[in-house]
């Protein structure tokens, strides 16, 4: 399942990036395989989504979220 499939409040661990060229900015901000994230909320208009990661909140567009394979934990 991808980040998009997580429900609000669910926690998951990142399995991998489903692409040859993961967005470098997101990598640098710590979105790596093995990282634990928590789905916080969806924006009022449906996009983007906010996740808790490494102690801070990050907003990610759904197009990127679709590339992130996660495992609920």
């Amino acid at each position: 399942m991808t980040l998009n499939d997580l429900n609000v409040g669910e926690r998951a661990s990142i399995v991998r990036w489903d692409t040859n060229a993961p967005p470098v900015r997101l990598l640098e901000m710590g979105v790596l395989p093995g990282t634990i994230i928590e789905m916080v909320r969806i924006a009022p208009l449906g996009d983007p989504i906010a996740i808790k990661i490494r102690g801070y909140q990050l907003s990610v567009r759904k197009t990127e979220a679709a590339l992130l394979v996660v495992e609920p934990c």
């Binding site: 900015r25 901000m29 710590g30 009022p44 996009d47 906010a50 907003s59 567009r61």
Partner: protein
């Protein structure tokens, strides 16, 4: 380069301030440098260069680098920061020491940047800021341990409260700076080993490059194309070696692009776990989360956002107006004073109509700008700005922008100038440029007087659906048109001009915090100052040019008007002579004759004096009326003379010249001349038309001007202004760029004249096209 010496010249130590956005870096910078700051641009780019001085025994030059999450040069900001630290900026040697400002409540992500700085081999001090927020979040940090593990001194502080900064200053002033820490993170071996041989190659090929910089250079070239192309010409052997390594690593399916990030966090995560103890259950909702539940609520979120915006604009309009009126009165007063004092009169004219009016044009924006920046600053400081981008992102991405463009574009409804300046918050340079390019289409408040004049004069009154007035709807349509075109223009610019990878939008949502009014106020003043100084210079020059164009060449006075003037004077003299006759006085004594003077004063006040001879009373009234007529005639003639002068000035001639081009839009030479003058500032068309129609000094609400416009006829009897012409003119104003202040600011923000030129061209083109279609189409349909 760093030691005080015995002789007088003391070398200055350079300190580079680096850190993520939102960690209080600028606050620290201001604390260290006070007002001793110099702001400019790095050569050839639009990145701001801020340097300040900390005076003392060891003078320090503090360079505030752009806030960045990484030194891996993807964006312009990162590139500049990287180049500064590597000493690659022309004219700037590498800094002597780097102070990395870190958010204590967010250590992991912040240490990423720190790990990159460590790789550069420069002396490092870590400023652990926002320790108060960390404490509130229930985090306890073992500073000593952190310092030991990093290999650099760590100074805890709360910069916003000026706590802990003293220790940093103390460390910076020590004779010997801390030893540069050693790199401790490791790359996966599949990459680490071949990288060593790359470093050897680089060493051989480019001996000038310091040894400690080889690692980072090789790593960057391996993963970043832009960095690699730098060497394509300069060292083909190295270039080829890197390409070769990339190929072999790809064949082995080693994820070398991610190798750096994985390696760094692989060191950082355990380190943070060791050093930070969490005294609170991470799943409890913080205050921030609870506020967010309301402010980004699916329904309440957008509504509250809308309400906030309405509040801001309402405040800006109501609070700015008295200040603007005050400024205008001041400008007028100064002008009167100048005219009274300065000789010869053409110099006074230049000063008043050229310089004072021009500078006044800049200063009049100040109240709006100050207020807007105040509210923008509040939104940024509290953390709400990120939420507004979060809410609006989906809508904006439909036209190729991102949520961050919302506030700059909406600010442009008040004035495009602070709107364009607010676009600095956009991280993506393409987004920022597009936002700047379309901001002037949002109908700013300067267009309002123009809308008011023409809608009130030419559009029918009456209601639609019983509630909305036709005129009100017309006004609303103008705003709607501008906004719609802005989005279309953004879409077109994104697709056609700025084709390329879509700007993905990852943004930190910082925790909410109480705004620090002093910081907000400081930023507000700082940005407004930037506008006045930079844009002011350009506007100043252009005002003088326009003044010259409007005034020269002077023509000989119109003979008809001169004749009328003589006639008016003569009529007055006749009355004086008559009166003199009835009172048996020489004509020259009439003015000073005491009973007459008293009687005239009484008449002027509307009283009937008690003891005045009927003859004198009659004479007094005659004289008074004659004087009044003369004054009125002279005023009228002055205005007509001014109109005549304008018609024969450069601007008037330009108007005539442009008339054939503008006629298809329904505009005659007077309107064309007005449009040309309006280039200075949109409202100028009001005073330009007033002058051309000899109405004198009036504003858009004047029935005089309205009547004059309505009454104007072509030689063949057709009215110059019909409702269709008015609509065509209105649309022209919605779409055309008529504001040199906007061009000046766009120049400053994009660091070149190219984009302002493009902006002016495309907007004028749009305006022409739309007006043309409306006027010709309307005529074809029989509406005009």
């Amino acid at each position: 380069m760093a030691y005080p010496s015995d002789d007088v010249s003391v070398e200055v130590r350079t300190v580079a301030l680096l850190g993520n956005p939102n960690v209080g870096k600028t606050t620290l910078f201001n604390l260290l440098t006070g007002l001793r700051q110099k702001v400019g641009n790095y050569p050839g780019v639009t990145v701001e260069r801020k340097v300040g001085r900390l005076v003392g025994d060891v003078p320090l030059d503090i360079v505030d680098l752009p806030g960045t999450y990484s030194l891996s040069p993807k964006s312009l900001d990162e590139r500049i920061a990287y180049d500064v630290l590597m000493g690659r900026i022309e004219g700037d040697a590498a800094p002597d020491v780097v102070v990395c400002v870190v958010d204590a409540s967010n250590l992991e992500r912040n240490l990423y940047l720190v790990s990159q700085v460590i790789d550069l081999g420069l002396p490092l001090i870590v400023a652990l800021n926002m320790t108060d927020a960390a404490k509130e979040a229930g985090l306890e940090i073992d500073i000593a341990r952190l310092s030991k593990r990093l290999g650099a001194p760590v100074v805890p502080m709360v910069a916003s409260r000026n706590e802990g900064v003293g220790r940093l200053k103390y460390l910076l002033r020590q004779t010997s700076l801390p030893q540069p820490p050693k790199r401790q993170w490791t790359l996966m071996s599949a990459v680490e080993e071949p990288l060593q041989s790359l470093m050897d190659t680089l060493g051989e090929e480019v001996p000038a490059l310091p040894a400690y910089q080889r690692f980072i250079e090789c790593l960057h070239c391996l993963t970043n194309d832009t960095m690699l192309t730098y060497w394509a010409e300069r060292s083909p052997a190295f270039y080829e070696a890197v390409q070769g390594l990339r190929r072999s690593l790809s064949e082995q399916k080693t994820p070398y692009q991610q190798a750096e990030v994985i390696g760094r966090y692989g060191w950082i995560s355990p380190l943070v776990n060791e050093v930070v103890t969490r005294k609170q259950d991470p799943s409890t909702r913080s205050v921030s989360d609870r506020i967010d539940a309301v402010l980004t609520h699916r329904i309440a979120g957008p509504i509250l956002f809308g309400v906030l915006l309405l509040l801001i604009f309402q405040s800006v309009f109501t609070w700015a107006t008295p200040a603007m009126d005050l400024i205008e009165a001041g400008v007028v007063g100064l002008g009167d004073l100048t005219r009274a004092v300065v000789r010869p009169s053409w110099v006074a004219d230049l000063m008043v109509d050229g310089i004072i009016a021009g500078v006044g044009n800049v200063v009049i924006f100040l109240p709006q700008i100050l207020l807007l920046f105040f509210f923008l600053g509040l939104m940024e400081d509290t953390g709400y700005m990120a939420r507004s981008a979060f809410i609006m992102d989906r809508l904006m991405s439909k036209v190729g922008l991102s949520g961050g463009s919302v506030v700059p574009l909406l600010s442009s409804f008040a004035c495009a100038i602070p709107g364009i300046m607010a676009a600095r918050t956009l991280a993506n340079p393409r987004d920022r440029l597009i936002t700047i390019m379309v901001a002037p289409l949002m109908s700013c408040s300067a267009r309002l007087p123009v809308y008011t004049l023409f809608i009130a004069a030419f559009l029918p009154t009456g209601t639609v659906l019983g509630i909305f007035t036709f005129q009100g709807l017309a006004m609303f349509s103008m705003y709607l048109l501008g906004t719609a075109m802005a989005f279309v223009a953004a879409f077109v610019l994104k697709r056609i001009v700025f084709k390329g990878s879509s700007s993905f939008f990852a943004m930190e949502l910082p925790p909410y915090r109480m705004p620090r009014l002093r910081q907000v106020a400081w930023r507000m003043v700082d940005r407004s100052k930037a506008f006045v100084v930079r844009a002011g210079k350009i506007i100043f020059g252009l005002s003088i040019v326009l003044w010259i164009l409007a005034r020269y060449p002077t023509s000989d006075p119109d003979l008809t008007l001169m004749a009328q003037r003589v006639a008016a004077e003569a009529a007055y003299q006749t009355t004086v002579t008559e009166v003199a006759g009835t009172l048996d006085l020489p004509a020259s004594a009439v003015a000073a004759y005491p009973p007459l003077v008293a009687a005239r004063t009484a008449y002027a006040h509307g009283e009937a004096p008690a003891d005045v001879e009927p003859d004198v009373w009659v004479a007094a009234r005659l004289l008074y009326d004659a004087e009044a007529t003369l004054t009125e005639d002279l005023h009228r003639l002055d205005a007509a003379e001014a109109g005549y002068q304008i018609e024969h000035s450069f601007i008037g001639r330009l108007g005539h010249l442009l008339e054939p081009v503008m006629r298809p839009l329904g505009f005659d030479w007077k309107i064309s001349a007005g449009i040309v003058s309006a280039f200075a500032a949109r409202e100028v068309i009001i005073s330009a038309l007033a002058t051309i129609y000899s109405v004198g000094d009036v504003d858009e609400d004047s029935p005089l001007l309205r009547d004059k416009l309505k009454a104007d006829r072509y030689p063949n009897g057709d009215p110059v202004y019909t409702p269709l012409v008015a609509v065509s003119l209105l649309v022209f104003f919605v779409l055309a760029l008529q504001c040199m202040s906007t061009l000046a600011i766009a120049r400053r923000e994009t660091n070149s004249w190219r984009w302002p030129a493009v902006m002016w061209l495309y907007m004028t083109g749009l305006a022409y096209l739309f007006s043309l279609v409306i006027y010709q189409g309307g005529q074809a349909l029989g509406w005009g």
